[in-house]
Symmetry: C2
Subunit: 277 residues, 2 copies
């Protein structure tokens, strides 16, 4: 099968020149085959990049997921995690370059959905690792921030592998990042990324929120709140969601009531975009 060959050569070229700047002609010349032969293996150029992404990301995410699920000794897990990540980046640096270059590219709607999917998969693995490692502490509040920090470390340090062909000491790097992660996990007290924010981010798209989704969040929030002007406002807004009764002015006022309250500011944002204020 020519598929394997085409994918390998294409990865080389995409890494060097980027996806759009590489023509099918170039790829086939690199493979020593004709242009027609390319279209026997792939329906289109887009299908090629999608298959490349899938091939590596499935491997990558499942490797990390396996690591996190089957780890026995907690402390060592984090080290193994970092080591595996950077080892992969080093071994498949060409693919890594593509990933960074074409990140959130618009050449194909499927591509964005795919990348979002794998990103979420990765997030889940990291989150479950964080809960495993620091679960008994008070990590609950800062765990999402921790996930962000870990991903920040990954993205910055992996650039070393991708943009410079320098042999790096993976052991030292992993040890160094383990220490940093532990420091943050055990001493951070100011969370930024709250559960509410995560929920907002995970909404499919802010434009097409369904009434039901908002109601779900709304009810959840109302139950957790004490009696107050804010709670009363929320209940009125819930009523408005079920059946429009108030005018714009009243709605705007109710939203203003809950806008600056830390517990309800996210809901105010959701409702704001739903009512098109």
């Amino acid at each position: 099968m020519k598929k394997q060959l085409i994918m390998e050569k294409a990865i080389e070229l995409f890494a060097k020149q980027g996806f759009e700047a590489t023509s099918v002609q170039q790829i086939t010349e690199h493979c020593g085959i004709s242009k027609g032969a390319f279209y026997l293996s792939f329906k289109s150029k887009d299908e090629l990049i999608i298959e490349i992404i899938d091939h590596f990301m499935i491997q990558f995410t499942s490797e990390i997921d396996y690591l996190v699920r089957n780890a026995k000794d907690g402390e060592n897990l984090l080290y193994k995690f970092y080591y595996a990540i950077f080892d992969s980046f080093q071994k498949h640096s060409d693919f890594g370059k593509i990933l960074i270059k074409e990140q959130s590219r618009s050449f194909n709607e499927d591509f964005i959905v795919k990348m979002r999917y794998y990103d979420r998969l990765m997030d889940k693995s990291i989150l479950s690792m964080v809960e495993r490692l620091y679960g008994d502490n008070k990590v609950e509040e800062i765990k999402y921030d921790l996930v962000f920090c870990i991903k920040g470390f990954m993205s910055m340090y992996s650039q070393l592998f991708l943009f410079y062909n320098v042999p790096l000491d993976l052991d030292l790097l992993s040890t160094s990042l383990v220490e940093k992660t532990n420091l943050l996990a055990r001493n951070s007290t100011v969370p930024f990324i709250s559960k509410a924010l995560i929920q907002v981010l995970e909404e499919p798209a802010l434009e097409d929120l369904t009434k039901e989704q908002i109601l779900l969040t709304l009810n959840q929030e109302i139950e957790e709140m004490e009696e107050s002007v804010e709670k009363e406002s929320l209940e009125l807004l819930k009523q408005q969601l079920h059946e429009p009764t108030f005018g714009r002015a009243i709605i705007k006022g109710l939203l203003e009531n809950i806008r600056n309250h830390p517990q309800t500011k996210w809901i105010s944002y959701l409702l704001d975009s739903f009512f098109n204020m």
Copy 2:
């Protein structure tokens, strides 16, 4: 002048679709002008993107540089730094998207040089801030790692501004990151990014290293070393650099002597690529 208009509309389109996927036609249609009019304001499409990059990056880097230089109270500086960064990202999120999308793109040699230049400028500002903030402590060894971590925080958290149109609490975010940075600065003990590594990275390109540049690093290293097999090997290699006398086998052996020594592993790497081993 149409220049302003063209730049604004182009930024919108580049942010959405990327530079290469956006045609001049599309830009002019968005502006409501003809294709010819575009070329009255810009010599080429490449000149347009270069001007856009310059316009924002000069503003951005100089703002940060001013902040770092003119800060009086140390503690507050870090907060102001983060706040300014994310405030900029929030205000100019379209430009931020372009920056992320086209990072290290190959469409134009000038572009890569430009981006590298601004990146270095940013690095310098951050480094000088780190030295200012934690200078009296033992931050010397981990300062480069700290720069990396700060940049990691920046890149991860700024994605929130770029990919989700969510209003975020800049004050809380800055406070949270200040705490994290302080934790790392005051408690990290395992550096990964050494001065030697930074030197290797700052080499213009590993392919065209001049003999003189290597000799400079070599002499520097030899002076700092105690008498040992490694030092002896370095001196022999220095001799070889001046005048080729040994065969490949001897050179390979000498390189092997210094490859696993932490102090000389970088030099071994430089020499290795110079002698084409």
